[in-house]
């Protein structure tokens, strides 16, 4: 199982049956492939609909929030962008899953800009992390140069302050509760010392620290 797949599989198990979920571009999109049996979620696309589905035939008028051709499920509903962000800001999205450049110990997220290098714009990310009931950041624990992306304080421009509910990396799962960052789970085969070493942020360790659970069918599938 690649680090990204592990992250996506763990995030998928955070979602509840009946949830309305917005998945960001890239790694978060993979989450849809790993939903547990019996978990029925509705995917929101911030460009204007509920009910993203697998693509059946390409339609020039139907793209997802990444601008890519997509499909819709039976029972999907279309709307305009003002309505879409009324849904997002208004708490009608149960969870959003986004990638991150940096997360810091008080739950700030930076994921939209590297000054002087990458200034694509925030798109809908700032609204999503402020409005969604649960904000899940799905990212690799360290940057390519090995430096930690889980920091005491973000150095990049923020997407929002105190917004992250859960951070899932290939090493660990953290929850942010009342301003505190709490290590709740370790990835299979990862020990606490490794997480501490690769994390700049100060975090608490849950009394009931666990190892991420994946069911056997899942692990079998991933091994293939």
């Amino acid at each position: 199982m690649s680090p990204k797949e592990l992250i996506a599989r763990r995030v998928a198990r955070l979602l509840n049956d009946g949830d309305v979920v917005n998945l960001g571009i890239g790694l978060p999109t993979m989450v849809a492939n790993f939903l547990p049996e019996g978990v029925d979620i509705t995917l929101q696309s911030e460009n204007g609909f509920l009910g993203i589905g697998p693509i059946t035939e390409q339609d020039v008028d139907l793209v997802n929030a990444g601008g890519q051709p997509c499909g819709v499920v039976t029972g999907a509903a279309m709307f305009d962008s003002a309505f879409s962000f009324a849904l997002i800001r208004g708490g009608h999205v149960d969870a959003c899953v986004l990638g991150g450049l940096q997360v810091c110990q008080n739950g700030n997220l930076a994921n939209w800009m590297v000054p002087g290098k990458m200034v694509p714009g925030m798109g809908g990310a700032m609204d999503l992390v402020v409005g969604s009931k649960k904000v899940v950041v799905a990212m690799e624990h360290c940057a390519k140069d090995g430096s930690s992306k889980v920091l005491k304080e973000c150095t990049l421009p923020l997407t929002a302050v105190n917004c992250v509910s859960v951070l899932v990396t290939e090493l660990a799962l953290f929850e942010f509760v009342n301003g505190a960052m709490v290590l709740k789970e370790l990835a299979p085969g990862v020990d606490l010392a490794t997480v501490q070493e690769r994390t700049e942020a100060d975090f608490q360790v849950a009394f009931d620290l666990k190892t991420m659970e994946f069911d056997s069918a899942e692990l079998k599938e991933a091994a293939q």
Binding site: G18, V20, T74, A76, M78, A86, R89, G90, H92
Partner: protein, 218 residues
Amino acid sequence: MKNKLMEVSDVGRFFRDGMTIMFGGFMGTGTPPTLVKALEESGAKDLTIIGNDTAFADTGIGPLVTNGQVKKVIASHIGTNRSTGQRMIEGLTEVELVPQGTLVERIRCGGAGLGGFLTPTGVGTVVAEGKQVIEIDGREYLLELPLRADVALVNAAVADTAGNLRYRLSSRNFNPIIALAADIVLAEAGEIVEVGALAPDDVMTPAALVDGLIKGAA
């Protein structure tokens, strides 16, 4: 998608004394009759009701006021239901009158996660009393605040079993707006169809907003 269809008899459990209830409708047109009846029969009292008007004494939301179940009304117009005015004068029911455009925008605001908005409506009138006035580009605006409810009672023409809704003609009015502004959204539709029978572009309120659905009179 989850099936939201329930029996009318299941609806009573959503109502409690002291709740705030939003309802769709304009002088009764577009107010869900079966849901209002269920609320009436639940006996819930000390209600705050939010909607455009209190209709007539015996139609729309009217009977709830007449019955004395309502502690407070937030509406733009109460003139057609004499019992509302009478109870107001007798001090039995509090009435907050809000300009119609401001009322529906406050509800939209509550549903859209906004903290308020600036409107020119009401500047220099009694509506401005107690409100912050903010000047933008030399024009004065009132800062109006969001409204939300515990339960919204929505009337649709057609619904699929998942709760995608479609309205008809002038019975649309406040219905799609209140569907975003309450913790629990109950809808009534004259016609219930299978999921997929409403094309995605024909849905006016997405199923994700609807918690419970009943079949009303066609």
